[in-house]
Symmetry: C2
């Protein structure tokens, strides 16, 4: 397909064009630049919802139920799942296939998981681009779900309009451990599996942590209790998400937040381009392999190797 045709179809909401476009940004293909330049001005209409939390918190069920609720209201929903699999060997998510059985057949729901595909880095950038594509293609809600809770994943979720952090009862002292990474990014908190023991304690601990936090925007993050598998609390979650989105749109702080996100995005993209430039030079790949072998055998230190590569 010609790139202009693809862009036209994509902007009309054609699902196959959307899927193709996302593959381009994922692969870092030469067409991705042109595509994103065309897509970017058309973005800004969708509500981007980021959902994170530790494995075992039941994020996937929650995302499915939330998507179903939006769909039942007549909206178009895009779901982007970020997979922190290894760049050495790739990896696949089984959850996808399970999902396809329920939501995936719905023409108003588009599901995609993003992985590194063995390419060096760029997952965060590719995810943000995929979200922009869905936005430009006319999806009303785009839900970004991360499997991991690492640095990149935190940034990806932060780039959403509304960030939802999912916890489960009985995390005990470990709630402290995740404080640093994800507590501060939550605009809305969910305690899922809230029929489990320890829900009150987790709620109290969470409230105490949130009371200590200082948000620049003076928003007081709501805590929603859900049982995703029984479809309980999903309506309340959608209301909490909407209330933060409404709050954002009134506030002046929104532009500052958008600027911080834009800066992060520019740096990600810049870093990727810089590496591509160096690696595409004749002989660099070979040199890298050679130096890696020498570093592995301790014949060369990494700092000298990089100095040499940059010459």
């Amino acid at each position: 397909m010609k790139i202009a045709d693809l862009i036209e179809k994509l902007l009309q909401g054609d699902t196959r064009a959307v899927a193709r476009g996302i593959s381009w940004v994922e692969d870092g293909s030469a067409n991705a630049d042109k595509l994103m330049r065309a897509v970017f001005p058309k973005t800004g209409k969708a509500t981007i919802i980021g959902i994170t939390g530790s494995p075992g918190a039941g994020k996937s069920s929650l995302v499915d139920k939330l998507a179903t609720l939006y769909r039942d209201r007549g909206e178009k929903i895009g779901i982007v799942a970020v997979d922190p699999s290894s760049p050495f060997s790739g990896g696949a998510i089984l959850g996808d296939r399970i999902r396809m059985q329920t939501l995936g057949l719905d023409p108003n729901v588009f599901i995609r998981s993003m992985a590194t595909r063995g390419k060096l880095g760029g997952l965060a950038r590719a995810t943000v681009d995929a979200v922009a594509i869905l936005d430009a293609a006319g999806f009303d809600k785009v839900i970004v779900e991360t499997v991991g809770v690492g640095q990149d994943e935190v940034e990806i979720v932060k780039a959403a309009d509304v960030s939802v952090v999912v916890l489960v009862p009985g995390m005990g002292d470990d709630i402290q451990a995740i404080k640093a990474g994800i507590m501060e990014i939550g605009d809305v908190f969910v305690i899922n599996k809230s029929d489990r023991e320890g829900v009150l304690r987790t709620e109290k601990e969470l409230e105490a942590l949130l009371a200590l936090a200082h948000r620049y925007d003076f928003w007081d993050p709501p805590i929603v209790k859900t049982i995703a598998t029984e479809n309980k609390g999903i309506e309340e979650l959608s209301e909490a998400i909407k209330s933060y989105k409404d709050f954002l749109e009134k506030g002046e702080k929104n532009l500052e937040r958008k600027k911080a996100i834009a800066k992060w995005r520019l740096i990600e993209l810049l870093q990727e381009k810089l590496l591509d430039d160096v690696m595409s030079k004749n002989g660099t790949s070979k040199k890298l392999e050679k130096f890696a072998a020498e570093v592995a055998e301790k014949k060369l230190d990494p700092y000298s190797a990089v100095e040499e590569l940059l010459k």
Copy 2:
């Protein structure tokens, strides 16, 4: 302190010099290059143990108990905790202070947590450098513990000699979700809190997943059941770690693995240097701020902005 003096003291195992050296690599200070060139040839004696798993798995207790066991055997232990906090606002780990009360006063145990400190990227590189410093300073075991389970954290743990993945009973279907990311990196698996319900099911699921996986080195990862808070199973864990280390040393595949790690490390370092170079040019920071504002207001697309930055 002069850099030559610091290096000398550091290589003699002086704790304050070690701490200072790690700060240099963490800050990306100009001294870091020189330091790491001196440190690198002295590495390779320590056993590097990477420990990962989701928040709530009890990794910290496990690390503490394992470190105590090694210390009781007369060894010197370094612990590096990686904190996936946000580059926008930093963040701190409370766990550290709790730890200092028990292990931190021991002269044979060195504990350090690594955070981004607001610097752009470089956490993975800084962590690997910190591990090399501890290795060169004569620590027998270096334990790297990650709080997150994202892309960077997976790579950090993979760079260890032995990677330990910690699970807890009752993760149910979610064990599938973390498969892609961390299942494949485990040389040793731990089911912690093994007095909880569901331990057998988790063990069976894990065995089934491991049976499906194809390891390039034909290692069959052991599964160790522990109750870290009661100090149960720690001896068995240390044996499982040792058995993989012994296996590695016999195998030819070790060099291939080391080469893959070296390559990843070179790329990390290369990317950091490239960004530093661009950002240190006169006016780039200002331009970046300006472009970020324009991207936020949708007056400019990120791809064109980066093209402009690279001119």
